[in-house]
Symmetry: C2
Subunit: 501 residues, 2 copies
Amino acid sequence: MTDSLLLVPAGIDTYRQPVVYMTEDCHICRAEGFAAQTRIRIDLGTRWIVATLNVVATGGWLKSDQAALSAPAWSALAAYPGCRGQFSHPEPAVSASLIRAKAYGKRLSKKDFGAIVGDTLNNRLSEIELAAFLTACTGDRLDENETVALTQAMLDAGDRLDWGGRKILDKHCVGGLPGNRTTPIVVGIVAAAGELIPKTSSRAITSPAGTADTMEVMAPVNLDAAALRAVAESEGGCVVWGGALNLSPADDYFIRIERPLDLDSTGQLVASVLSKKAAVGSTHVLIDIPVGPTAKVRSRSAADILGARLTAVGRQIGLNVELHVSDGAGPVGHGIGPALEAMDVLAVLRCQANAPQDLRSRALDLAGGLLDIASGDEGKGRSRAEALLDSRAAEKKFMAICMAQGGFREPEPAPQQIEILAPRSGILNAIDNRLIARIAKLAGAPRQKSAGVRLGVRLGEKVEAGQPLYSIHSATRGELAYARNYAGTHPEAFSICEEVT
Amino acid sequence: MTDSLLLVPAGIDTYRQPVVYMTEDCHICRAEGFAAQTRIRIDLGTRWIVATLNVVATGGWLKSDQAALSAPAWSALAAYPGCRGQFSHPEPAVSASLIRAKAYGKRLSKKDFGAIVGDTLNNRLSEIELAAFLTACTGDRLDENETVALTQAMLDAGDRLDWGGRKILDKHCVGGLPGNRTTPIVVGIVAAAGELIPKTSSRAITSPAGTADTMEVMAPVNLDAAALRAVAESEGGCVVWGGALNLSPADDYFIRIERPLDLDSTGQLVASVLSKKAAVGSTHVLIDIPVGPTAKVRSRSAADILGARLTAVGRQIGLNVELHVSDGAGPVGHGIGPALEAMDVLAVLRCQANAPQDLRSRALDLAGGLLDIASGDEGKGRSRAEALLDSRAAEKKFMAICMAQGGFREPEPAPQQIEILAPRSGILNAIDNRLIARIAKLAGAPRQKSAGVRLGVRLGEKVEAGQPLYSIHSATRGELAYARNYAGTHPEAFSICEEVT
């Protein structure tokens, strides 16, 4: 057996990229001609992975008859102490040539996307190949048929929940609006109305917080499919992280590359959203598209194009999609960042005097829309939603959902905080969503739950020079200093104009 | 000093990607909020790099008051035993947002490309960001102005040789034709004619051998600018690896991502070629564009588009570009792979009876074209070139160049060889350049100098079933087996049709 080596854990966390460490005088490196950064197939029983080789100097921490695996490689291979892996050249991933074709502008079929999704899930595509795929799909480079094909391929690669023909409600917001955390409120209201809304959410891609990040501040979100079903059947709703389920599992691989690249494409966005919705078993989805100069969607016409694509692709995969185009001029609520947004959500559910009215109003619009869809009786939904919120029935339902998911916890404030003061007096007439999101991210959000930004002034309000405009919240001093420096060099994040008297 | 750590070499070769290893309980990880795959700035004196963090389990090979650097990080930082590095969050690379803009189809300016090139050279862009940039430029997504801007930005980022106003000849082949190794022959002839041709060449991007890979089999090619100048001034020509010089240095960073992605774009190709030519001080460049169904350029019209772009961009940066569109139906010469191609080159220069006539003829066309350009007297160049080759003046000059570069060596055959036999009788009427290149690469070329493929039959020749069609050459058994398996499952690499009687 010249092609096997004892596998040992390297004790190195390479995030998701599987890495194998071998010594430069290892007989397999020599016999097979493996060099640094070669991609190597490792078989263990019926499992196999493709890992990137890092070559370790002889006489160091690794013996030459051993191969060490980084944490993600060890876990993907289900390796165990004393096991021996077989090493070989991987066959070229079929889908690598499909990615190349897409980069050159060719159209791909459902079978093509299926191959890319399959190789992605098997870790047979490198990070740079995935980056090339996602870049090649950026903007509008996937047409409608390709988007249907990608959606179906992503859906087929995972599990699909079956609710026995019942009407399953769902909502989604295409994002870009910091602080717009309506989902926990909407789920509380709709479930309190007796409808079924088993909601899965994602973590942030390019924003300071995703719904799953925010919900996790208040309750566990890493539920498996059986636990999700139990919560939804008993309470009518839930808010869990979709990534812990096997629903459209490739999406998570794409996100880990999209996130550092800060890329979103129409086709990827539609496929990502709709494959998740179809996989969780939803039948009726209300999609909120906020429009604003610094939101993800910047014009009514762009919203119409995206909406038409969502509706058309939904129809082709058997999903009833309704749209809600909303005002996306600025951030929603006071907080931006997981814990800060959770505080806003709870203030609305608890009907507190300091609750952000814009967040409340947006949540009522969406819950009302869903109740209209559920009843088929347009127009009465919003007042029903308002009654459920004001009677605290929605709060009671939300707390019951949190308990069913594993227990409620109050959001904790960040240990490091600093206030940013208005440089002049006037009217706050614009907030740049992208800059404010960046400041929140530099402060540590969403990785650090308590990190982010809290707005002290609303759009259209009067401010005096020296009055606090907003505060930055961080878990560490380093991040606080970094976010503050960036804020200091980007005063245009908040635009203050002279008051007209 | 809470933000410094003792730097130690990790003894891990991560190819070009700088990686830093820190323990999970390291005080800097905790204070700064660094997690696995975070990009971290490390300062040492006036040098600094941005490296990717891998987190090492506590109690392993790394102490918690130390940070270990992978080989490329150690060398880029010029670290030394006992030194302490400063750790901080890197500022976001300005060019990351430019790459995103390009992915969405925006046009970039020279300043934009300058920022991308600068951040590339400073290792401030991650591999996936570079992959996104190159994918966003794939195909024809760079227009002429952008190509000029990218070329100029790449040129400005490095050194530029000055030959005091003399006429400097150069040649380039856009590639895609396995075995087409005319450069050493052309340089031998043109320098023997008394012209100045200080040739820099690249290593393979997507092919089994680049000119630098092949030349290195016969003589050292890693010369610095002073050595290049010395060889060219004394012998009139040289064939050195451009990557060891600081001529358009970003090109090498792009190549290391393009190579695994197997991507070439018109704009990148033009910028890569012309920035190198301008940097080496060339004034007149002859560019060979082979056209064939499986060559890089597949049609006369595609050649015309590429040629027009090369000529136009050349004009705008002050370079006189002439084109030579040639037949690219199949491989040139017998060998494919560095050593096997070097053997063909030497057979032509030595006027051996078994020398490949197609390689000889192509080299004479190009050398003749260059001599025409030099004399301004069109038409006499080719016969002059032929006389210099047949008189062995070109061979003598080539050997003198090899000696001046550091010494000539004969190519060595590969230890592992196997013959692939014709499955049927008939006429060999097509060879798939891409499949045969892939077989040569799977055999180990260009990494293993002796590896590759040697053709036993020429296009249009009669073959009998069971006669050797070609042989596969490898440095290791593993690579030989892998290439043979691939060849076995891809018999369409060689198409044999029935003989018409």
